[in-house]
Subunit: 321 residues, 6 copies
């Protein structure tokens, strides 16, 4: 089986095969009036322009914009940039191309942690919740949505906005919560449950597709209220779930963004709610800073000010060598 | 039956009987060491200080701060203000004192409109909703909560913060909605339903007591989300309630305050939602301006700046005469 | 007489004639060094690129950027977009081209309502003002500026920013004012007059040209103060115009934007001023939402967030089919 | 003629006469049921409580709250504070009490500069304006309002809020303008005229009474627009006043507060307007800092944070000795 | 030795001795003209009014407002509140009254943790810093200021504003930092050093007196810049302290408040700075919420909105029983 | 010696020589596969595209992007714009090309005032400081950094952001300070010293290169704190420098931006600090307005709103002719 080549490894003149996400697709005419396909492809290592000059009609039907594709072609150079001239193309799916090495994580940005290991860690954390009502509640919700949780991003354009970002964010927060609950006079089980469920509405708010975007429910209702719905529904199925405990958990979800202008309809009103908000904010900011530094293109020691923090960030002395 | 005298009609030397809300109650010692009760009473015409000099122990047990009372006494003058010296006192209730003319609307600020007439107007408006799903939804919710709706305030300290204020506000908005729906290209039934239900969560958020305050549900969850719950629950009982129609109605409730910093987790996303928000804002502002002018104590043509609008309001030329 | 073809009806290969606004005009050289004219044309159905290859010197003198033109030419295709190759061109004017079907409303965005009918409606509303001073004041101002009022936009880049937008906005507000004045305890005549005159300064603030922009007076003084000038001047010509009535009307104009940061030097200080501000805000927002949905280019059910409301707007289920 | 004693010079047991502003007046009963008058008096050195025990009916008619009074009485001590027991009292006026030393500046805070000298300085500055239109404009306005200008405050509660504060502020700004106009490339005459007229509307906005407050015009229209009216009216009387020069002057007045949220309907759009705004801001801030330090009551080296700058201000080492 | 009685244990009729902070002291006259001293005393259990009727001249000299005092007296009741009538009074000092049980922590609010144990924990944390430059730097600064650090508050009116609050805050942050540094990709030693030194300037900014207030340096320069000075001075004494390491540490101190409007002249520019800011914010907010709940006086389940979070806080179900 | 031609004087067909800053440099291939250099050049009169077609390898080594160059070439025209085809190119330096007329001020925007004359003016102003400590302090700092001060810009992208802008800004402020110090009750020497040193940290914050950008110290620490360091270091070398005087000077530097959100960790706390802030703000705003008008490209009388003031600025009637 021929090797898979990712975009960052393209070399002029090479003949390659690989898997990519087709992010733009235009049918155009050459100066001579011939049809050709003008494409932009992306994988998790970069972006490249591509052309299909031959069998345009036939190949045009095989894929559309927004889907992962399996491709063969030759790397050429145009205006000092690489350009892939495609000879074979097909829609890629795990069912068919899995055996050739296709994995969605190749074509969209993904967490650098293995989702299966993260899931195991989460399961261990849930096991350690002592309050039987809360443990049952979290277990049932996580079990029901396991498939989605394994791959969902934590946001469309903000922090942890990549495959399995939801899981990475919740796991990181859980570890922090575990350690901090001993330092403050709080109900550890409630904090952990709050952490595990605070963003659960994102599973409904953001679509599962390759190109994450807001669902109708996301736009009409929003993940904060959707998440509380899921908790309420699950709690109703548990006998004698204590009323105040449920209200506190609902409040944690409704207030976890901490400020009205960040779309939280409530502000944290007791220590466990404050702690969940603070841990969420901390983990998001640490992730956003990491992403901002990674995304900066210039070669200097400092990023420019056009990042989410509106301040130059230090990329460290290594960059400048 | 002796006549009831309200505070604004007190005259020095008069012997009166009436109904009041006891808003402050202190057991104090005179300079001679004798116990007496020092009270502040309120009805919907004003506020007066009162004293109980005799039978203090006995009368002290008959009432507490925060309850409506039936009183006999004499109006005296102390430091240029009226003071009521009480000779008889009892807790007031509609059951017992109703026949003597007691009505809660005497002791707490109340809408100047008759709640029963307003209710009838609302019922007519509901009848005119043509969409059968929406009509059924509103009817069932209003029927279920009729008793509360008749007396509830629309807020604790903001606009329409008096007995039957909820009803007055919703009715005023309904009339506006009825007329504006023809002027814009909107679904009139959806606007009317949105108006009738936008604040329905207030029934759960604010306590029914004389002294309105936030309930636990109000503080933990808030009327916006509570109101959506009531709508969702009622819609589930109606067969084949169209999914998108319900989502739009939920969105109207979630976005009706219009701005995140006003605790709306969503901003209006379609014309009907925008219109409900705009009508709500307009009716609240018109009411707040009326209240601010009424509450201003000084005798000039203009209020001072210490009102909710932070600007002097014009009280008109009549005041200055 | 050959038919007029609008941009949205262009078809490749067709030979057309029509009226357009020339919004860009550049004299360029071909690779061979020959001069040609590179144009961008617009009408109220769309935008198209155009070229003049022949008789460049002669045709170059016949028009300039920013004017409406009468054109003959052939529709070709360049890089998958239509391009008009012009063979005849002339400045368009109602005097000369009116009989061939030229109407400015063809080339600039215009209200979908007929200005003459709207004018008639406004005249009826003015007739119904009962206060003789206010009726006389509004009549005289509207009569004096009738010609401008028929075509003026309500703003340069915000709401109702198209031909006859001023009239459409004022008429819509008048209808609302008419209906709401009965619901609140306000002076209906003053509210109506405030509505009819609140933006009257825009006639001086914005130029009458095809391409609306701010005049010197607009930039130096602004429509709020200019509008008050017009009212003051007109009132001086009416004998015994009541002083306070005039001051209140002036205040309505000065405060109609409602907030200092929206350039109002005063905030509404009495119910009529508040109502004019609220109606203005409502009508502007409803119009802006309509425009934002119309302007959105993508094919999804929701607009993106890059509109004036900074929130995705729902375009409805029809779009997605 | 007996000497006048000001409040700061009161000594227990002294028998004094003097002029004061009566800022509070209450008719009360003693424990024995006798009537007495309970007063608060103020002059520009301080505040004192006063009582009238005798001839209450007769003296009660001689004055009211808010007017300056001529008083004889004895200084006593009550609860460690001085208290004036009044024996004779009359309304004070310059006509009658002037020869006994009465001067309004004794009873209300006043500029520490002599208004007549300040007026002379202003006249000199006006003489030095070279542009004949501007000179004529300023002269005519200042001449017409000379009497008011001599005593008007510059604001009700902000900077220069004392007798002749308007004159002090404008003179200080004129001196600065005179010197800065040479340093920047600006039209010195326009800057000076802008400075002299920027606040001229205050003469209409604030009442002339002892207790400065907003007039109806002030509340309805505001000094910014009122000032522009005065300039426009005066300019109309000057033949061939250049149109653009007038527009620029009007713009300076409309934009002199510099920011929309400070109620300026325009922001400075050319260097002269920016300079007038900057000089105004500087002179106001310097005055406000002086007043904040003077008003601070504590004995430490630093004021507390409850001043207009929301920061502790340094009062200097001398205070702490 | 007679027992010490704290204010919360006062009982009417009891004869007590104890240590208090004199927070107000006024010399007044009785109706009969006799002098007496009117005092307000405070200890860490409450506040009480006190009087000295006898030997006023003599006892007046023994103490002043703001100092701790040793007192004997009798508890009486006046207007339903306790009042202490003092018979003996002296300034309290550890030197003289220590053997009688005086401890400053009795009279001012103090951390509930023992400062000596907290100090030992901090020393252990410093020992675990591996980078020799950072360890040396922190050690030298903490050693030099040990005495102050043991008792300093962390702020004048905000979080941890009590005796040893500085130590409590830094220790709590250090524990968090210790645990979080393993979870993120950061230099643990730099985070710990940042935590230990971020507020070190507070030792200079706030006075050591019982009644904490800002020093001249605090007001002129501020703790952020003062703290950086201390770090710079200490680093200069350590040979070959790496330049960039020092710059990063300085940046952590300058940016630790995170936002310009919170007086940080820099915003966090690398992960360690962000983490120190986030931990500081979290620990401050958790402490402020605890204080807000403790300070709330009403007996309901919820505090009112007049706390630093501007939202009602939940005090829990126990309160309401 | 052949004449130097600046970009604004280029004419098609001319053969020129001159000095420019190379701001972009790309090695590209022609359609035929030949290498060429594609450059963008700038001098203080404009910007031009340039090409090197011949001897590409050899000339490519002679210069890099960001350096000043000495060039010979021919002006051609491409797509209606000038394009310089270069035949000879070398790095430019004052040492070698000074005799041919090279001056860095030719290639980067520079103050229109001669830095040497400005320096002399500053020296005169320093001489006039009477307080010996302050005079010595300023002299020593200015002497030490003379070379930098002569050429430094006052900012990277804001006001006075050009060669010798620092000097121009400080000199302008000094003249204002000199004149205003007499009008207010302030310590003139302290104001002048504050003005001369308020921005001194910019010498460390911004790099000296042609293309000004932030240094590491600038990004980590910032000019406000860096400037205070320079003052502290210099003051330590002066015997008996009065402590409070130094603290006040430090405070002036720390507070000179006036607002926390403008990165000042302190707000002005005494009149001299307020005056330095106000003068700084005024001089910056006057300069920014001048730059905004100069930079505006359109041919109308008014700039658009996309300038730092977010308002159209008046460019004057001359432009429109």
């Amino acid at each position: 089986m021929k090797e898979i080549t990712q975009i960052s490894s393209f070399k002029e003149g090479a003949s390659i095969q690989g898997f990519f996400l087709c992010v733009e697709k235009h049918l155009r005419h050459t100066r001579n009036g011939d049809l050709y396909l003008d494409l932009v492809l992306r994988d998790n290592t970069g972006t490249v322009h591509a052309k299909i000059w031959d069998k345009v009609d036939e190949l045009n039907d095989k894929f559309s914009s927004g889907v992962p594709i399996a491709v063969k072609g030759n790397v050429e150079s145009f205006q000092e940039r690489h350009q892939l001239v495609i000879t074979k193309i097909n829609k890629a799916s795990v069912q068919y191309y899995g055996r050739y090495g296709y994995d969605p994580a190749l074509v969209v940005p993904a967490s650098s942690n293995d989702p299966k290991i993260m899931w195991k860690d989460i399961v261990d954390i849930i096991k350690n919740i002592k309050n039987p009502f809360l443990k049952k509640l979290v277990s049932s919700i996580y079990k029901e949505h396991k498939e989605k949780i394994l791959i969902h991003p934590a946001s469309v354009v903000m922090h942890h906005n990549y495959r399995s970002g939801f899981l990475e964010h919740v796991l990181s927060m859980s570890k922090i919560a575990n350690q901090l609950s001993g330092l403050y006079d709080v109900d550890r089980d409630l904090v952990l449950t709050g952490v595990l469920l605070h963003d659960i509405g994102k599973l409904d708010e953001i679509s599962e597709d390759m190109d994450a975007e807001y669902t109708d429910s996301g736009n009409f209702i929003g993940h904060i209220v959707l998440g509380r719905d899921m908790v309420q529904t699950a709690a109703r199925k548990i006998k004698k779930f204590p009323k105040e405990l449920l209200q506190k958990l609902e409040h944690i979800i409704l207030s976890h963004q901490g400020r009205f202008e960040w779309q939280s309809p409530k502000q944290p009103a007791f220590p466990e709610a404050m702690l969940v908000h603070m841990i969420d904010n901390m983990d998001a900011k640490m992730n956003l800073m990491k992403l901002a530094v990674e995304e900066d293109q210039n070669e200097r020691k400092w990023t420019d000010k056009k990042n989410i923090f509106r301040t130059p960030l230090y990329k460290g002395p290594d960059e400048s060598k």
